[in-house]
Symmetry: C2
Subunit: 479 residues, 2 copies
């Protein structure tokens, strides 16, 4: 039986599924216990307590578990490597959660998990405690049924994902040997709105920056000084107009030089995705989408860089008129990057463009994360797809890339390891928002999915190989 | 003796000057009394009290004085017309003042006039009570010395100048017969910084408007929606870039169609003015002036329309990054207009331009005032110049136009009367600001100037004629 056709569970996996089904109530109850522990990285609340709690939990399972300090909050790393010859999977998640504000918007308190209508409501229920706890229960279920795992496992749980993962790259570089794996699986983010499973092969990168323009040392009267004293808002308008045109094309010198077109395989997979244009228009009450209007949104989100103005502020904002020439203004922007754009190089190019077109405008680098992409035909790609299919009974949707950010590049670019994002949460998980939740059926399907992936990897006839096997696409690797 | 060379006071005027000099202490004391009465149009404080106080004051002088209601605060109109054959001058001023906030910034309370270092500090000291009170004292001084005025006089004091003169145009249209005059003199604004007198022959007009762009019904994540959901800030940036280019040229379709180039006389007068480019750069700490950098600021302020962005606001304004596509943004603009731009026509053109380039952007008209210009060779021009020269002992600076706004067009465009702005206040009067003041010597020189103008008009050999005598420039008249 080829991996492609193995979409139903074999005997070993069926027994694990039965165990999961028989234990679902205590699994839910134990997730509630876990969610009662706040671990808010932004506010330094409960971080080491939850890290230690995880080490205890994972040690009891039979994994070798410990915390490893970083310049910020510790990493939790656990391993089990008693399956010689089988591949090693690195399971990534994060134990920190978003701050729960505004508290008054929560129907039940964020750290008093509550079940309503088949959902568990709590901060972290979806993002990410409910998801990595499902991964841990998948390990536990294999141990319970078979006394062992089907493949070697590394579990890496970060404590700083919600504050931008400031230390994970340094950590990964410093601990390459500990993190050697054949593939990475991240359980984070939502399933498709239809509840169909998704596998994502990459994330776009991001750079963000600020443009600040100043002219006079104070606001002046527009009648007495308009046309005489430079207006920083006009300066920024004219600068921005050189950076992206009204057709939606980014026109920063050199910005698109390194953009790699999607592969045929990626185009084909994307063409099979549900079309979202009408849904987006309906949900956001839009008459039209952004330029270029004839480009499918999925293509825009996966294959094209963006340049977004997040905020523009200068001058008078109150009611009625105020006849001033403002003396300062600023613009905040982010740009989403695709392979093989390098964030530092892109920031250099934007800075050079600003210096050329508006030399007096101050350019501030704010943050940057490289893009990441695993080729659709990377090693273990079919294995993961088949396992997800088996766990859900439905073929997964294949996303070449995500619009949003994850520190996925540390695996693909620093370690050179294929990386797959396999989310477990419902699409309306309300992550980062009040009343965050995970549907109990999604949580349990997550446990099944985790178990199925382990099972499939144990049986895999694939061997580890170079990440950029299709030779067409893929990421630059750190030397 | 031709009007051109009559720059010293004759016998009749010398006696009036002597009277002014002999009475300066009581003049100052009476101005302090007047300034104790608040008349804040924006807050409806003391308006009818001060209007009635003026009627009493002017009636005692021997003028026929009354208030005339408008839809807002009343006009005060006084007249004396017992100089048959002599011209009639309409003296315009305004009895309302700006609100005094912030109160804590005043060294002495705004309505408790205080003399310090040769200046009277009080709200309205410069703008405009001190100036029209000087005009009234000029009338009084002529009456005291000669028992009569040298020419016919209309005194019009508005109560709504500080709130944009919303009713003066309607008032002037309804009372054309009462307001028939050969010329208008407005004593408002400051002398040159050097204390040299100024005569201004016009003011630019203004239109102000707001552009509002909306896209989605809420802010959305820039990774999940950037490049898919329209960004109202980009929409406004691209629209604005079509309205004025980086060289400082306004590119709104048809905007400059009706702009009339300055006359040779206006160019020559402007070339004789002190150059202000270096002063502006020093005062505002600017490396360069606005584009086009080679245009003298005086030319920009008198002869060219402007398009100024007063404020641009949309999206995130807080610290650090926030990766959103904002869902709404707005821009506030004003445009200063020159002859013969018609504000309604200009607003129509801007609206058509917006509809063409960004049909979804909402265009809101906020306010409009037509430009006004009296030709440099209009009737009584030389008479007024000579009188000001005589009062100050210094030749006045001739400004073809002011950058800021005054409702001057009601005289030139509705009544077709030549209009001259002859300011009395010091350049640092701090009008509209805390610690507003008038220098006592400027106030008394204002009384002298007012007296000299009346004297010169009584002796004038000029006769009333069409306002647009030079045939090159001038304003459109209301039919």
């Amino acid at each position: 039986m080829s991996p492609n056709s193995r979409h139903t569970a074999g005997a070993e996996l069926s027994r694990v599924f039965e165990h999961i089904d028989a234990n679902k109530d205590q699994f839910v109850s134990r997730l509630l216990d876990y969610l009662r522990h706040p671990s808010i990285s932004a506010h330094n609340i409960g971080m080491s307590e939850v890290a230690e709690l995880l080490v205890t939990m994972l040690s009891r399972l039979g994994l070798e578990a410990r915390t490893i300090p970083t310049s910020g909050y510790p990493m939790v790393l656990a391993s089990w490597n008693r399956a010689p010859g089988a591949p090693t999977v690195l399971l990534y998640g994060h134990y920190d959660v978003q701050p729960p504000d505004p508290l008054e918007a929560w129907i039940s308190p964020p750290f008093e998990p509550t079940i309503r209508d088949g959902r568990i409501y709590a901060r972290g229920a979806g993002d990410n405690k409910g998801q990595h706890f499902a991964q841990i229960l998948a390990l536990e279920s294999h141990f319970a049924v078979h006394g062992r795992l089907p493949c070697n496992v590394l579990l890496l749980l970060e404590g700083e994902e919600e504050i931008g993962s400031p230390n994970i790259a340094e950590f990964v570089r410093a601990h390459r040997d500990l993190l050697r794996a054949d593939l990475v699986i991240t359980a984070d983010g939502p399933l498709h709105e239809s509840n169909r499973p998704i596998i994502t092969y990459g994330v776009r990168g991001i750079v963000s920056f600020e443009l600040r323009a100043r002219a006079a040392n104070r606001d002046v009267h527009s009648g007495n000084f308009g046309g005489v004293v430079p207006n920083p808002i006009w300066t920024l308008v004219h600068l921005l107009a050189t950076m992206k045109n009204a057709d939606g094309e980014i026109t920063i010198d050199g910005f698109r030089d390194d953009v790699v077109a999607p592969t045929e395989r990626e185009r084909a997979a994307t063409a099979r995705l549900p079309q979202i244009a009408e849904d987006v228009k309906r949900a956001l009450n839009l008459a039209t989408l952004d330029n270029p209007v004839d480009r499918p949104p999925a293509d825009s989100l996966m294959f094209y860089p963006t340049l977004t103005i997040n905020g523009f502020h200068g001058g008078y904002a109150g009611p009625g008129p105020k006849t001033i020439v403002p003396h300062e203004a600023f613009v905040k922007c982010d740009a989403r990057l695709v392979e093989r754009q390098n964030p530092d190089d892109i920031l250099d190019k934007i800075e050079a463009h600003v210096k050329k077109h508006a030399p007096d405008v101050e350019f501030l680098r704010v943050e940057s994360t490289p893009p990441s992409k695993t080729p659709l035909d990377a090693p273990f790609s079919q294995t993961v797809q088949s396992a997800v299919h088996a766990a859900h009974g439905v073929e997964p949707l294949i996303y070449s890339s995500l619009g949003a950010t994850l520190p996925d590049y540390v695996f693909t670019k620093i370690l050179g390891t294929p990386s797959f994002v396999v989310p477990y949460a419902n699409a309306d998980e309300a992550n980062h928002a009040p009343n965050e939740n995970i549907r109990i059926d999604c949580f349990l399907k997550g446990v099944r999915t985790g178990a199925a992936v382990l099972d499939a990897l144990g049986k895999s006839v694939e061997s580890s190989g170079p990440i950029h096997s299709d030779g067409e696409n893929g990421s630059w690797l750190e030397p």
